[in-house]
Symmetry: C2
Subunit: 324 residues, 2 copies
């Protein structure tokens, strides 16, 4: 079983077919960065059209059992998430509404301060806000998973402790391996995993040691060391694959509508666009490379199967339904 717990591709029939070629049973796709509620609904509508147009390749995922259906019918189950709480605006009632529409992950922040928490690019992290505490409780109630991939350390640790259900860092790597601002320090990973949460390893070059030149061996050794430290059952994949996107999209991700100036985020003025992917992971057909690389590190077959998909499957099974 293969699950990729974060992608933001420029979706097309070509990519849907590559998902099948790569044996990807489920993906979690981002459908909002800065979109408000109504704009997010347009993105749900876009996926409804794709489900109608490509019923043999993809299907809407709502719970883990949909992954079983997808496997039995040779399709990929698509689960939805937001990298920012902008879709719920200032309205806690929208938490249940977006869950009903199919959202299963929501980041409390995307780099900046939000109404709920502090993003990892702010100079100060004031932790979970008053509204943030209420929204975490509501997310726990309905089965919308708290994702802290782009949040500050303090906010992430507080979210892991406040949340009564496990949370996730869907796409990031350990800071100790590659000290990017977006990668996570050990105490952050510990707070998430010791409460039953998950860390998804990213293949986005800015999160890799030596960026696009990172070797498959280094990436897989890093995963093996993280498994020793925090337990293999808390680990999965969240590639952050942004296949076929034009550079205007990475600018939208970074800048949205919150500034009139350019913000280069993890890029720079000399390299503002999407970075080149490592040669061993160019698209969804390359998951076999990661699986073989993990087996070569000495991780057991069972551990590798968990990291490649079963751990996310189990997490979905526990955390996507209303509580009780």
């Amino acid at each position: 079983m293969r699950i990729d717990n974060l992608q933001y591709a420029n979706w097309s029939e070509k990519i849907f077919r590559q998902l099948r070629e790569g044996g990807v049973d489920a993906i979690h796709v981002t459908i909002a960065y800065h979109e408000n509620f109504r704009e997010t609904v347009l993105n749900f509508e876009k996926w409804n059209r794709w489900f109608e147009q490509y019923p043999d390749l993809i299907m809407k995922g709502q719970g883990a059992s949909d992954i079983d259906v997808a496997r039995e019918t040779g399709r990929t189950a698509v689960f939805f998430g937001f990298q920012n709480p902008s879709p719920i605006e200032d309205d806690i009632g929208l938490v249940e509404i977006v869950h009903t529409l199919g959202a299963r992950f929501m980041q409390l922040t995307y780099n900046n301060q939000s109404l709920l928490a502090t993003g990892c690019y702010e100079a100060e992290d004031m932790g979970i806000t008053r509204m943030g505490k209420q929204v975490i409780k509501e997310m726990n109630r309905v089965g919308l998973v708290v994702d802290m991939s782009h949040s500050g350390d303090r906010s992430t640790i507080e979210a892991a402790d406040l949340s009564e259900r496990p949370i996730a860092i869907t796409h990031a790597n350990p800071h100790s391996w590659s000290p990017a601002l977006r990668n996570k320090k050990d105490d952050v990973i510990r707070a998430v995993t010791q409460n039953g949460g998950m860390l998804g390893f990213s293949v986005y070059p800015h999160h890799l040691k030596d960026k696009g030149d990172c070797t498959l061996e280094s990436f897989c050794e890093m995963i093996a060391r993280t498994a020793e430290q925090f337990g293999a059952e808390h680990l999965g994949i969240g590639t952050d694959l942004c296949q076929d996107q034009p550079d205007s999209i990475v600018e939208w991700m970074r800048v949205g509508r919150w500034t009139k100036e350019i913000d280069y985020g993890e890029g720079s003025a000399s390299a503002p666009g999407f970075p080149d992917m490592p040669h061993w992971f160019r698209d969804n057909r390359d998951f076999g490379n990661i699986e073989n690389g993990l087996l070569a590190t000495g991780l057991s077959e069972d551990e590798v199967a968990g990291i490649m998909g079963r751990n996310w499957y189990n997490f979905y099974a526990e955390n996507f339904s209303p509580r009780g």
Copy 2:
């Protein structure tokens, strides 16, 4: 089994308890008259709160099987509908979105011309519009029932013929019994019922012979005659009960935001408010009166059971799910 296929009460714990006292297993409630999409979502949110607050009295209804669950657990299943297509704005993609959120009936018009069809108060009825034809097809696909209660005759007959699934007049009576503008002529009722559709009888005084002075006997005899003419299996109840609503609400229903002048609709300058209900149907505890009145007409027990609930149950079972 008792199902009331249209109410627009000022909902409260008191009314939810009266639904239980009256043995009402399911209701279809209006949650939009003139609301746009975002405003309609606020109304879904309001119901989500009530479901959370009164889990022993009410539950969200999505399919006929939810009525079985409601009966087994002593609750009322609440199904949602719109009396106007305003919630889908000019966006056909919203048809599936509102269905996902729980909408199961949508009127193509509310008295006036809409983007989809002509309302019963317009001087001319131009039939189903270009967008209307597309939206009927999409409603058929997802399982959102076309309701023509407030539409013009030509639009209703065209909708019944264009729709590939049965449609409904959720709340109206035969024009031959009481010639109100909102009541339906025989050829309209025939077009709906001969295609498998349903007519729900209204107890709203403006739709009754002699308004609030209408006798239970007259109402029930009218139903018995309609059963002879069109078949009892196509008939149900849709009281249009607007319990505990202030008169400002009937003004909102009639005027919305489409005019700066007052429109009295079925009322008049001298009687602009909600009319008084007949003494034999004041609230949800009075369904027994209608049931007994129907049995007194000579309709069989089986026919009466169908009209009081089973016919709507069967209609829900066939028409609320995506096709195929």
